[in-house]
Subunit: 344 residues, 4 copies
């Protein structure tokens, strides 16, 4: 089969031929219908410091996917040939205290598709039955594939409890945009999108943002306070990981409010704990991954009922053999390239 893989410890990726993988007794073989590219894949392509430490070539990349079950291992239960599925990318150990108490998304020993084992950028894929999610047939493969990152944002928004509230979303990368769409679908009243790229801010508006704030042109804290009678917003979703956004978010959230930390800063950050958190009686939640499978269930419900329209998110669709073009879009046209879906 064809696959896009990191063959050696240098920058770049290669389109290779390799044998179809064979599922073990608790695994499932999937024919990939669509796979999509995450920022992490770009880091591995570019072979940054983190990738050099973490990735052991050879490795087929990719952790976002939709496909069809071709065969199942001897001990697989409840999954059949022909099922239309996607994959939770984090493979939990199933036995740690977190897995044992319904919190597998913070499993102590999880492995990641396309990082710790061969991933989704291929014609065929083998995954453990424990991470198989059956898709509703009404969801197109391109949307089914991007459920993995969408799930992060669904998790963020559901933990933030946005119903009937004002919400500021800092950062309109893919998870920020998803968060805006989800917050809009589940009852946020006003949604403020904060970023510096007009293309993304316009997309934010299409997805449900009631106001887009370009922080290069406006003081976001001032705009948010003015728009909320001086109080600040009920909820901040920090999706960028930037120190300046964290600062602004902590200043712009009201007393007794909620601040979700999702965007990953590249180094330690500085916060005014006394003024911005303690005296405010602020609540902060760090969010990672997707609740397995509670988040997938919520997401599926929003997608199959049409409450959530992801069309504006998938900006490019290419063939798997066009992966170099896809990487070029992600790297050199980042502000117009939201999500690239590849078809094998």
């Amino acid at each position: 089969m064809r696959a896009v893989a990191k063959q050696k410890a240098t920058p770049g990726l290669e389109l290779i031929e390799k044998p179809e993988p064979v599922p073990g007794p608790e695994e499932v073989l999937i024919q990939v219908k669509a796979c999509s590219i995450c920022g992490t894949d770009v880091h591995i392509y570019q072979w940054d410091e983190w990738s050099q430490r973490r990735i052991k070539p050879p490795l087929v990349l990719g952790h976002e996917v939709a496909g069809k079950v071709i065969s199942v291992g001897s001990h697989v239960q409840g999954i059949s040939k022909g099922d239309y599925v996607s994959a939770e990318s984090h493979i939990p150990c199933g036995r740690c205290v977190y897995c044992h108490s319904g919190r597998a998304h913070i499993c102590q020993n999880y492995k990641i598709l396309g990082i710790d084992r061969d991933g989704t950028f291929a014609e065929y894929l083998v995954i453990p039955q424990s991470v198989v999610w059956k898709n509703d047939l009404s969801i197109l493969p391109k949307f089914a594939s991007i459920q993995e990152p969408l799930g992060n944002s669904v998790h963020v928004v559901m933990e933030a409890n946005v119903a009937g509230k004002s919400v500021a979303v800092f950062g309109t990368g893919i998870t920020g945009l998803f968060a805006i769409a989800v917050a809009h679908a589940v009852g946020a009243v006003e949604i403020f999108a904060i970023d510096q790229h007009e293309f993304k801010l316009n997309l934010a508006k299409k997805l449900g943002a009631t106001r887009a704030i370009n922080f290069r042109k406006e003081d976001s804290v001032k705009v948010l306070r003015d728009a909320t009678g001086g109080l600040g917003v009920d909820v901040v979703l920090e999706m960028s990981g930037a120190q300046s956004a964290i600062d602004s978010g902590l200043k712009a959230v009201r007393k007794g409010g909620m601040f979700i930390a999702f965007g990953l800063p590249s180094k330690s950050v500085t916060v005014d704990l006394a003024e911005d958190i303690i005296f405010k009686g602020l609540q902060i939640k760090g969010i990672t991954g997707r609740k397995i499978f509670e988040t997938w269930d919520q997401m599926n419900y929003l997608l199959r009922t049409g409450k959530l329209d992801l069309s504006p998110i998938v900006t490019h669709e290419v063939g798997l053999n066009e992966f170099e073009h896809a990487m070029d879009l992600m790297i050199n046209h980042p502000n117009e390239t939201i999500k690239v879906v590849m078809y094998p």
Copy 2:
């Protein structure tokens, strides 16, 4: 009447004679039975930078009190001459969005007794009816007086949800010690006290700590991880405001855990948001003041049923005229002086 006051903008305090205050229509006149000294009073005595900015002499100090109602203003309802009372020290405006929604402890416009208006270090005291709390008769004045700081710790512990859990308390100053006693009373299973002062650590054990960790002698993070099967504790109560304690607390709390920020750092702090908060799925709550009067009600219940024994906390009892001695204890013997109660 006699009162201990800051008469001019210089270090020190004076014992003065001044007329008994007269209650306005919505105020209550109280004969002080006991008043107790807070760290803030010491700062004002020493006339530190913060005090110089915040305090406008002349001012009677003090915000902790127990006493008897002598007379009530014409529009006071539900409070009578002879009632045995204490005072919530934060006087909420009663009209902002927070006061209007049962969250007066984060009122936008609150005033503080002994800071914004004459306080409790006196024979008589006038306070608004809105901050009067009727004490159970079984509670001694020295304990009724220290309900104000105790309430901070009750608020902290009740928000942390410690029942059946392991709890690490960083900092064994007065609110840390109170937090240990309260956590013990409301069902924490293991309570780890972390500090560097042996006197306080011993007190922590008397109040319910199952283990005292002197961070000068032991690596607190290692001890906490070893004691919890490598997972870390369920809950951290950060009562010190020290950067090093914040660091250790964030490292020692388990995934999916709870971190309460109460101790006030004197400047901005640095945190590893990605590793310690986001990937952990950590929940952080900033806590300030006492819920008015939900916290008082909880505290009263713990005290009148004898679930909470505060005897080890009141280390010194003196006359109001011995205030200089009290300040000396607080300033020069801080590690053996937990709470000083004064009797007018």
Copy 3:
């Protein structure tokens, strides 16, 4: 001034002339711009058993209102002549344990406008400052007046946590219809309206119901189960008080779901506690009144941002002197008469 009052202990109401009321020191005089009729007013008009026990004539009726402040008592703070206001109809005592802990909606000693003291069906009205709510100027008097019953439904929906969920609303009287509109505004995905009156079911659809179920024509439990893959709905809002609806709601809600009890049955009800509540791991909340003023704040936000459109709810607008016509509509055309607003 003119007022509509129960003058003696017999059926009916009278349009009377009486002196303008004079506000006490903590009260506010309001010129009524709009007042609206509740089912309770109809009961008092008809002089049913409950009314005979509860109402002491003479009494001006009505507890829903929007108006303008004409003057304020000597101790009123934060409310000024000219303010555009509505009234929380339940006047809490301000001193019981519930009032003291931000839960005045379950005050032990509350009084009700138009039941325990003169109400809103008049040109002028006096209310305590404690129940005055300042309206946003953008909200029309007819909509500002019906915030009192709307608040019940906002309270119901916010406690039910409907975001991203399937919701069944049993009963499409005024609070059921409001609940549908609010659930739609704050992120319910599917909303099923269950009743027997086609006019109301059509209204339910206009307000956001995704499906209307006429229980005279369809088996509501079967429809709800079929529509949810056999699981049942996430949330049931029981707004009717009918035994049959309670039965159906408990059967139609899924395991681990939420059942809100709001509709008042006229007598005790029977439930299969083991099958429908315990084995299901069901959560039930009884909801009454509005959180003071948290619910008002949420409601105001939904109204002033246009998230909530109440136009279909106000089916009739008449003059105060046409009160007999209004009562006739409520009594003899109940299925086409949702809310009647009167203008003095």
Copy 4:
């Protein structure tokens, strides 16, 4: 091996010889060290109506156990020969929406040990790896065995949020007594035990009840209201399933309080929904089973730290061959027989 089994569809049980069971690929063979008797086993012994419908002989009885792993199936992971284990008695399907979202205790398709497959009253036992719980070595087999019913009560108490509160426990059968012990361990301030049997009420006091109320001698609602300043208790744990206890519990719980329904009534119950639930703003939770394995983890923590002492609960210890004597104790001396542990 020896086992106690229902061999045919008539009252009684037999001590039989049968071959040791052989574990399948995902199963575990356990040598039973202790097994304990539940009221359900007594019902099956007596062959009541429910048993006749539900039980298909031949069947080895019993679902409470502690033992040692003898061998494991070929696909078992993380469990080894020699492990000291107990069993979650409800075997979840692992694939329904509830299992998939961390709520396996309300699995749609669960099977029960000793009811749907051979149980624990035997020398050897085979169970699926999915329900194996590894015990702390410090817990004696007799206590490890009774974790199954204890877990019900831990689940009840943790959902009730009793820390710092007043709690009334209706019914002092085994789960009521456990609930008292757990509530005492996790921070309830006052615990009222209500029953009619003095032996059990005395046991309740030993386990932590602050007051025992014999409802044959005292009006429990009056006592509870008098003891709480007229308000009623914060929390009711209904562990009896009796209509009269449900009535009293609903009357005795305060406004805004919490009512846990755990005891199973044999038929439908009647409630005053308006007065006791809606106007009170009451919260009710139906609780069944144990959270898998969150509850087990909480329970293990309480047991291994010594926070929970179960000694008074195990009133009788006998050999497996004395099962007839054990049944006689349970049936003819129910008020002095709390828990009987059998040793094979």
